[in-house]
């Protein structure tokens, strides 16, 4: 694995620095909202952020915060604190970490800025609703729930009516919380930028269709932050344009995310935040690149339902029909579509104790892939933030064995 420093340097993604700069500025802005008079809303990762941007509210993402907690390896400690508060160790570790941070301003950035309101969309799970209820009681601030009925086999007309009606309720909620009228012209502009950002994000992920892939899922986990957090801003569009240009440059120069890409893999479920580096090096040492994943692509999956000329109107469908809010068979279909698109040799599934809606059904998805495509899959049991659920030896052995299987298939 001895890659020369020079080689390593060439392989580094240069825009990373810019990204860090933007995120730092964003968190400073959010943390000083109290002094600048701006309002802060906490919002779930699948929630409709554009109306907040249009209202000049600073969106803050506890899930992104959870990822930071995980990456700084503070997960076990904070999760333990939540357990001492009475929260079972079987609950989602994002929720546990965040709930434990709130009263003590804990975590890597000394706690999130206090919310003026909470916006929760249950299109990703039922956990977020319980979690936001806890925080609404703690901070004593209003909570808006965007309830997006689950689409086992389709999106019914009555569900669509229901969600559409709630978009209006959401706007009324914001008008009340902000004490000003909603700006319907501004949302058109924000919506346009949001769609543009999502398209760029999709294009960036698509550069991984090249061999070697210039970007891996591990990179995508990092660069994802903006499309989640600052979707609908010019800044995000500009940043992703830069990143896309860099990826295209890498493609033309044949620079891959891993030095000798031999096996192309697809990752399923959330990252293991406290072990991204370890996992990325582990796979790279086997010349395997995670060229795509179901997680970061969820933030451009709604593009098929969006109507640029009626952004607010199409919002209901975009938020309801996302990857996690659909049946297991439809998820399997989409995974296979991705496997074909990125031409992968194998699939790595993270069975994530924290995330039941993402993980239950994985065994069936695995079976469907095997039956329909014959692609080998590896299942690793872990947790995205709570490192107590990570058994290095066991996972290492399983990865090694999996690569042997891939080797056998290739030769």
């Amino acid at each position: 694995m001895a890659e020369k420093d020079e080689e390593k340097e060439k392989r580094k993604i240069k825009t990373v620095a810019k990204m860090k700069e933007i995120m730092t500025a964003y968190y400073i802005d959010a943390k000083t909202a109290g002094q600048t008079g701006k309002k802060v809303a906490w919002i779930t990762s699948g929630g409709p952020v554009e109306p907040l941007i249009a209202m000049d509210v600073i969106p803050v993402y506890p899930e992104n915060h959870g990822a930071m907690v995980g990456a700084s390896k503070m997960g076990a400690d904070l999760c333990g604190k939540a357990e001492a508060m009475g929260y079972s160790s079987d609950l989602c570790s994002y929720a546990r970490a965040d709930i434990a941070c709130a009263p003590i301003n804990g975590g890597p950035i000394g706690g999130l800025p206090r919310p003026d309101m909470l916006v929760c969309c249950n299109n990703i799970c039922g956990t977020v609703m319980k979690w936001y209820e806890v925080q609404a009681r703690f901070f004593k601030v209003p909570l808006f729930i965007l309830d997006t009925p689950f689409c086992h086999t389709g999106f019914s007309a009555e569900a669509k009516r229901y969600v559409k009606g709630q978009i209006n309720e959401y706007i009324a909620f914001l008008e009340k919380a902000c004490g000003k009228r909603f700006d319907y012209d501004r949302i058109k502009e924000v919506g346009r930028l949001s769609v543009q950002g999502q398209r760029l994000w999709q294009e960036i992920l698509d550069t991984a269709m090249n061999r070697p892939a210039p970007i891996s899922a591990f990179d995508a986990f990092f660069h994802l932050a903006l499309i989640v957090t600052l979707r609908g801003t010019q800044q995000t569009v500009d940043y992703y344009k830069m990143l896309l240009a860099e990826m295209r440059q890498r493609v033309s120069e044949g620079i891959g995310a891993v030095p000798r890409e031999k096996y192309r893999l697809l990752w399923d479920n959330l990252p293991v935040w406290y072990r991204t580096k370890w996992l990325s090096e582990k796979f790279a040492s086997h010349d395997a690149c995670l060229v795509a994943d179901t997680y970061t692509s969820a933030w451009c999956g709604a593009l098929r339902y969006v109507d640029e000329n009626d952004f607010l109107g199409s919002m209901a469908e975009c938020h309801t029909r996302i990857y996690l809010n659909i049946g297991v068979d439809e998820m399997a279909r989409q995974v296979i579509e991705m496997a074909d698109k990125y031409d992968v040799d194998g699939i790595v599934m993270h069975s994530n104790r924290s995330c039941k809606p993402y993980s239950f059904g994985q065994y069936d998805i695995q079976r469907i892939i095997r039956e329909q495509k014959g692609i080998p899959t590896l299942m690793i049991e872990a947790d995205m933030v709570d490192e107590r659920s990570f058994s290095e030896g066991q996972i290492e052995t399983r990865i090694d064995a999996f690569i042997e299987v891939l080797k056998g298939k290739k030769s």
Partner: protein
């Protein structure tokens, strides 16, 4: 009471009972998962609603579909289905509630092909006009879809008749619970459990008259002079209780169960349905007004307010939380419910159960310690 004997016979082998009932009555049997499954509509369609719990068999087949960190209720039900123990079901209904049942529905649909499958994708928040309208829409759709599957049209008259039967069951159970709260010694906790449980399994028309008889007999007995009652009054809180033994253990430890907020208890029968209103709307309104399930939203303190009120009403000395391991919605609510009880001066303890109660005396000791403390 002979009715109680009948109950125990049914609970000994619910599947056997329902198979016999199906053969005798010619009714189709529809498996249901949670207290949001509209039994009234199933009954009105001429079918029989049968609540599924999982028979407690060792998990082998479900292992290939659901990870170990899934609650025993969901894994157990799937195990039964895959093991062919539910082959008598004609259909199954999945109301949307928690993330685990949500995925169980998918997995069931893909792997248990023999019976028809209906999803009831209910609203999650229950406190807005839009949600109410959507709830009504969903129930209307269900009425149509179920009718189609069973090749019947469900008339308003049939719906009203079914609502009347369910109301009779609910009213009778409400009386029984009230009497149990007033005079705990006249009915054992395990019997109370058996009565509610049997009502979810047996022929509902029979259940209605049978529970009315039990209530009448209890009323008679309660006129006798109350014996001095040295036991401490305990209230149970949680979701689904699958363990009749805990009543006995609590009683032996010197406690007496005077009420609960279980879905296999008071949530099952609380709230009557308006018999004169539009039937589907009336069914929806009961769901909206009843105390909320933790997987649903109706204000920020709905469940705590309810729990504290019930505990006070029943003059409970303490509350025992009975939670299933890996059950997220209930686990999220536990700290705030406990805090609300603390503030109301009601002591509580938490019992988390994986699938079986631990056989050793540990549970007994914990209950004894708790009862002694309160």
């Amino acid at each position: 009471m002979k009715q109680i004997e009948e109950c125990y016979q049914i609970l000994k082998d619910p599947n056997g009972y329902v198979k016999r009932f199906k053969a005798e009555s010619g009714r189709k049997v529809i498996g249901t998962f949670c207290s949001y499954a509209p039994e009234e509509i199933i009954l009105a369609a001429g079918a029989h609603p049968f609540r599924l719990f999982g028979s407690g068999e060792k998990i082998r087949l479900a292992e290939a579909h659901l990870q170990s960190y899934c609650c025993s209720l969901v894994r157990g039900a799937l195990e039964d289905a895959l093991g062919g123990r539910l082959a008598f079901l004609d259909g199954v209904v999945f109301p949307h509630t928690c993330d685990s049942i949500q995925r169980l529905s998918d997995i069931w649909r893909l792997n248990v092909p023999a019976c028809f499958h209906l999803d009831l994708i209910l609203p999650v928040k229950l406190d807005t006009d839009g949600a109410r309208q959507y709830m009504i829409d969903v129930l209307r759709r269900f009425r149509g879809e179920l009718g189609e599957k069973l090749s019947v049209t469900i008339s308003d008259e049939e719906l009203r008749a079914a609502i009347r039967i369910c109301n009779r069951i609910r009213a009778a159970l409400t009386r029984i619970y009230a009497l149990k709260g007033e005079r705990p010694e006249i009915l054992k906790g395990s019997v109370l459990y058996a009565l509610v449980r049997a009502a979810m399994i047996m022929d509902r028309t029979r259940a209605a008259s049978f529970l009315e008889e039990v209530a009448a007999e209890m009323e008679k007995e309660s006129t006798s002079k109350a014996a001095a009652w040295p036991k401490k009054r305990i209230f149970l809180s949680g979701g689904v209780c699958n363990h009749p033994d805990i009543y006995t253990i609590i009683e032996e430890a010197g406690g007496e169960v005077v009420g609960d907020d279980f879905c296999t208890g008071s949530r099952y029968f609380s709230g009557l349905i308006d018999e004169k209103a539009d039937p589907v709307t009336a069914i929806a309104d009961r769901y909206l007004e009843r105390v909320v399930c933790p997987a649903k939203h109706r204000g920020l303190t709905n469940r705590a307010d309810h729990l504290v009120r019930l505990a006070r009403e029943k003059q409970a000395r303490g509350v025992i939380f009975f939670l299933l391991k890996f059950c997220d919605p209930h686990a999220f609510d536990y700290p705030y419910l406990k805090e609300a009880l603390d503030q109301a001066g009601v002591p509580s303890m938490l019992l988390e159960v994986e699938d079986r109660l631990s056989a050793d005396g540990q549970l007994r000791t914990r209950f004894e310690a708790f009862v002694e403390m309160i």
